[in-house]
């Protein structure tokens, strides 16, 4: 199995604060992976490290086996759409296609033009005057025209309305399905991710909390309802991520690793529930110490 993106104890520091720490994971080629985490969790930092905009302060990151920082040889393999889809706002879409083509050795200008024509994007209007959704589509078309093997998207749909968001994700899925491109896509919008992703990387407070194929992650977690629970071990249950209690009964969200004690009723969970459980975890710890109050 080819690994498209691999991080090994990757770390990045801004001043004294670690934006990303001890980050290790592998993203197999051909996957469409969601990169999830609250604001400031290090998502953009991870993407910038992967595309070589930043150099790591610890560990390594590899794109198809090569380190991307200060290494233009990696650039043709990686397509990148930065947050807020920055483009030269006074350029027209047609100009952007031509000029970006001059900056890339491998370039499929026809593909970009076809996509933009199909989406009904005016070629001769400055992209600054397009809607946010159209601009994101232009940025995506330019990234896809590189025919990248790895496509990194930093919150591409964050500023789009629901309709534009759906269109964007649909057109993204359509084109990467044909080409077999590996995608890593960061987003807050869990519902969108659930629709399009088959792999997940979850960051929280600058560390990787969860990584793996979506179906395995969903299959590996269960909601358990049973008698009031005091924290003792339960057969077939690994880590308990979240517990809520009423007078006589407890509801747990837990990682399961076998057949669960029949005392507990087992329910399936959605990806969203799993993600939320991990996002909850540890989020408040640092701020408690920073505010110098007991947790």
């Amino acid at each position: 199995m080819e690994i498209a993106l691999e991080a090994e104890r990757l770390g990045k520091r801004y001043g004294r604060r670690w934006a990303l720490q001890e980050c290790s994971f592998q993203l197999p080629a051909g996957r469409i992976a969601g990169l999830v985490g609250p604001n400031g969790a290090g998502k953009s930092t991870l993407l910038h490290l992967a595309v070589g905009l930043l150099g790591p302060d610890a560990g390594t990151v590899r794109v198809f086996g090569r380190t991307p920082y200060d290494n233009p040889a990696v650039l043709p393999d990686v397509g990148f759409v930065a947050q807020d889809t920055p483009l030269y706002r006074d350029f027209t879409a047609a100009e952007l296609v031509t000029i970006t083509g001059r900056m890339n050795r491998r370039w499929d200008g026809a593909l970009a033009r076809e996509r933009l024509a199909q989406l009904g994007i005016p070629p001769n209007l400055p992209v600054g005057r397009l809607s946010g959704g159209q601009r994101a589509q232009v940025a995506l078309a330019l990234a896809l025209a590189k025919r990248p093997r790895l496509l990194l998207l930093d919150e591409p749909v964050a500023s789009l309305d629901p309709l534009a968001r759906r269109e964007f994700l649909q057109s993204l899925m359509g084109s990467v399905a044909e080409s077999g491109t590996t995608v890593l896509l960061s987003s807050h919008l869990l519902g969108d991710l659930e629709r399009v992703c088959d792999h997940l990387v979850l960051l929280n407070a600058s560390r990787v909390r969860l990584v793996g194929a979506v179906d395995e992650l969903v299959a590996g977690h269960r909601q358990l309802v049973g008698p009031r629970h005091g924290g003792e071990a339960i057969t077939g249950v690994g880590t308990v991520l979240r517990a809520s209690h009423t007078g006589r009964q407890s509801t747990l969200l837990a990682r399961v690793d076998g057949v669960v004690d029949p005392e507990w009723t087992v329910h399936d969970v959605t990806l969203e529930e799993v993600i939320l459980a991990y996002l909850d975890e540890g989020e408040t710890r640092t701020s408690h110490t920073e505010w110098e109050v007991p947790a």
């Binding site: 233009p72 397509g79 930065a82 030269y88 100009e95 031509t98």
Partner: protein, 329 residues
């Protein structure tokens, strides 16, 4: 990449050309009429005459009148010359500072740096364009100003070493411009926004220019000294465009008795109350006028040294920019 740089900055190039065209349209007619007046008053001949040491008194006086007439008519144009002194700085503010700062501010560097070319190449092409445009502008400006300002300087009898005229003409403006632009580019990698970058450029440019002009320039070459006796028949030689760094009256043993002064007395003249000429200042017999100066013929040498310093600073700043760029994401 050249296509990108050109597309991105072509409007700026156009505005720069337009700005210079407007400036030329204003300055060239003034310069031509100034030169007409200058030759109509017979002043070019005066300049030649006065450059010799033995000038007949009558010629000197009539020339003096001509210069004064010219000065009355055009003297206020010196103000225009002072205003034009800021032109290299403007190029630094509007070409240098936004070059990288605007990209980082709008995030477009992330787009450009993730295409197929290295950011070093991206930077060098952008530097190349900015330097080519502004250096061309600076050459036109420096040579144009040399032509424009020369009647004013000659009429003012100051030489070309004066603090404003030296900075305004010749090749020095090329050095200033390249420095201003490079400083602006570098400031963009520090401030990473247009406004801070422009502020750094403004402060840095004024600071370095002033420091070099005041502290370094007088020492580019060992200054010469000249001595003229206090007592003598002919008037003190008028300066012929030399750059006087210091002067004063010294006694025979070398002690300075009257700094920043010059005294000339015909032989045998006594003050009304008795006592030798200048005795109230402590001037004793054998005293002499002393002058520390850079001769006028060193103008181009000094221009070359000054330009060299600023071009070297510009190169250093561009090198630092390339290093700094690796740290921006």
């Amino acid at each position: 990449m050249i296509a990108l740089a050109w597309r991105q900055h072509r409007k700026q190039v156009l505005y720069t050309i337009l700005g210079f065209a407007v400036l030329a349209a204003l300055m060239v007619p003034i310069g031509i009429s100034m030169r007409h007046t200058f030759s109509d008053l017979g002043l070019p001949e005066c300049v030649r005459q006065l450059a010799r040491s033995d000038v007949p008194q009558a010629t000197a006086e009539s020339c003096e009148g001509g210069f004064r007439q010219f000065g009355n008519r055009y003297g206020n144009l010196n103000l225009v010359a002072v205003l034009l002194l800021v032109l290299p700085m403007l190029l630094g503010l509007f070409w240098g500072a936004p070059l990288i700062a605007r990209e980082v501010e709008q995030g477009t560097h992330r787009f450009a740096w993730t295409q197929g070319i290295s950011r070093r190449r991206w930077a060098l092409v952008k530097f190349g364009l900015a330097v080519a445009v502004t250096a061309t502008a600076a050459v036109c400006y420096g040579l144009g100003m040399s032509w424009w300002v020369s009647p004013l300087t000659e009429a003012a009898r100051e030489g070309r070493f004066g603090f404003i005229v030296f900075d305004l003409q010749g090749v020095a403006p090329i050095g200033y411009t390249l420095f201003a632009v490079a400083l602006g580019i570098f400031a963009g990698t520090l401030g990473r926004r247009m406004l801070p970058a422009m502020t750094i450029t403004l402060a840095g440019f004024i600071g370095v220019r002033a420091a070099v002009a005041v502290l370094a320039r007088p020492h580019y070459q060992p200054a010469r000294t000249a001595q003229y006796p206090v007592v003598g028949d002919d008037p003190l030689p008028r300066d012929r465009g030399d750059w006087i760094l210091a002067n004063g009256v010294r006694n025979a043993d070398g002690t300075m008795v009257a700094p920043d002064a010059q005294i000339r007395c015909p032989p045998g003249v006594q003050k009304p109350g008795g006592g030798a000429c200048g005795s109230e200042l402590g001037v004793r017999p054998g005293a002499y006028n002393w002058e520390l100066y850079q001769p006028a013929d060193r103008f181009w040498l000094f221009q070359g040294i000054e330009t060299g310093i600023f071009v070297a600073l510009a190169a250093l700043l561009l090198y630092l920019t390339l290093r700094q760029l690796r740290r921006i994401a």
